[in-house]
Symmetry: C2
Subunit: 340 residues, 2 copies
């Protein structure tokens, strides 16, 4: 090495010669083909290690028409939820032996979706996962452009019939609402996430459904953008509007943190005057003041199931059978209490 020009790559042929077999036999060893004599296989494997040979992915996918690579298209991963999904999906993919190519669109996508898909497609990815949290992304567009590549949607519209895996945010919303109701609250306000996020919508529908079951309508509905700052402002608006409410259902933990801060700043105690719930269960949430009652989402399960579904689809493109739901879990802490 360090031989002036870049050292020539070790190729399958080098291994074959050294082992005294043909390149095809080496190929078979690599691909775990059954009909190779055990001793031949051993010899080849030995040489592979000795020569430090690594198959060339480019050549391999060129010849095989598949890349053992998956695409993960995401947006808005600056937020806790999507980020966790991404991490867990990648982890599951790797466990399944796939490499992951990541296209991160950012929220203001313009035609970046198009170019991102171009990029991924040009890699001949074997499949794709789209973290389709945001409605504007028009999953159909993706599907069309991927032209036949198996695709799983993650965190998309509740009830979508496309192959998708989502956490059952509706159930989570219902659970949170019911929790407040059980504590005796009747005047309950909502702080939702941005309307173009499916999750925000579904959580809200869950809340409303939960309230309706008890014959209650939301006292007030405000909107935030998932950030603590927006949660602060939304809560401030609620208080300043003079709405008398003793319960506050918030779309995620970060906004809940901001909301609690605003309530305190206005002289309201949590949960003394107002009970607050969040959504996500970030590691921090248990250490908020007060510790936050929230809806925990099993992102790890989401990642695993998403991958499992995708692998099914890669194996048999006809296997698509709609949406799979992952149940959330209500975590009760000290930010909610019985109505005074």
């Amino acid at each position: 090495m360090a031989e002036g020009g870049r050292a020539r790559r070790v190729t399958m042929l080098d291994v074959a010669e050294a082992a005294g077999v043909s390149y095809q036999t080496v190929s078979r060893v690599i691909n775990h083909h059954p009909s190779v004599k055990p001793e031949t296989r051993a010899r080849v494997l030995d040489l592979i290690k000795q020569l430090n040979y690594r198959p060339d992915r480019a050549a391999r996918s060129l010849a095989a028409h598949r890349s053992w690579t998956l695409a993960v298209i995401s947006c808005g991963i600056e937020f806790y939820g999507p980020m966790q999904m991404l991490i867990n999906i990648e982890h599951s993919a790797r466990e399944a032996g796939y490499d992951v190519l990541n296209a991160n669109l950012g929220l203001h996508q313009g035609n970046s979706l198009h170019s991102a898909l171009d990029r991924l497609f040009s890699w001949r990815v074997d499949g794709a996962l789209l973290i389709a949290s945001v409605a504007a992304q028009s999953a159909e567009h993706v599907i069309a452009q991927l032209s036949g590549t198996p695709l799983i949607l993650i965190d998309t519209a509740y009830g979508s019939s496309a192959p998708s895996v989502i956490i059952d945010q509706h159930a989570g919303g219902v659970a949170a609402a019911r929790h407040l109701i059980d504590l005796g609250h009747r005047e309950i306000a909502l702080i939702c996430g941005p309307v173009d996020w499916y999750g925000a919508l579904t959580r809200r529908e869950g809340w409303v459904a939960g309230l309706r079951d008890a014959g209650i309508a939301p006292a007030l509905i405000e909107m935030g953008d998932w950030t603590p700052a927006s949660g602060y402002q939304a809560a401030a608006r609620i208080v300043d509007a003079g709405a008398r409410c003793t319960g506050l259902l918030v779309g995620n933990d970060a906004m809940a943190l901001g909301a609690i801060s605003a309530l305190k700043a206005r002289g309201l105690a949590v949960p003394g005057d107002v009970s607050v719930t969040g959504f996500d269960d970030m590691p921090e949430s248990a250490y908020f003041d007060p510790p936050l009652t929230t809806v925990a989402q099993d992102f790890s399960a989401l990642g695993r199931q998403g991958m499992a579904y995708l692998i099914e689809l890669i194996g048999d493109p006809e296997a698509a059978n709609g949406q799979r739901l992952i149940p959330p879990r209500l975590v009760v802490r000290a930010s909610t209490a019985a109505r005074a």
Copy 2:
């Protein structure tokens, strides 16, 4: 399409025929080679769009010996800092026209580093960035195995002579310590991150250096694992040890949150009895109770500079010239106050 077998890919040759030129000319158009007659170029580009042709990355990198792909190797991205680095690096890479292959090792790496590098190497990546926050990763090992591939270390040992970009955590530590001293604090305890993280070490050295300048030694040093829970426990240990301290320097915001929670639980007011500082400036930190004084890190700049450095290195492997530092910024909020 949907023609039974998988639709044949549109190739350069298809475009060439349609445009009435040779495949080489199409190649030249794609690669922005100067000597192509403008009208020919226009015709070819038109056909490319019409036929929806996309160059095949696998074939391209096989032939060209480069992939326009970068590897980002990371570990522990479940934490805020490394995660932000990752996001920003990917973003910068894409802006520079590179695709990013992501190898996420997780903390307990075993030989996963080895296999990860194998994977990346087999892709013929043009360069690599290693988020080398954790010492155990032995960057040398990576460098050796990458055998000549340009590599930049991110968030590694302070003062390392390897091509690297880090945020100047030492300066950040000094600033935090000096801040407490300026407020009149003299008994100051430390809650550090795990010792195998370079950043934890450097922050601590910064704190100690800052205190030493004022002739002060740390009252007590505790350790956490970056999580809020560990911050809680560390602070609890400090209080329970009976150490009288009025200042608490914490290794990151998450642990600071936990620490504040523990202090309150022990009846100590923040900042009334104890002033607390963090590190990171997460979006949540401004909404803690009290809002956290912390050291903000410019992860975006880190990502940009890391990529810029790597591109220099890819262009000229001899361009390596040591470590580049990005200054942090002390953000003073309400968790610190003058000593009573």
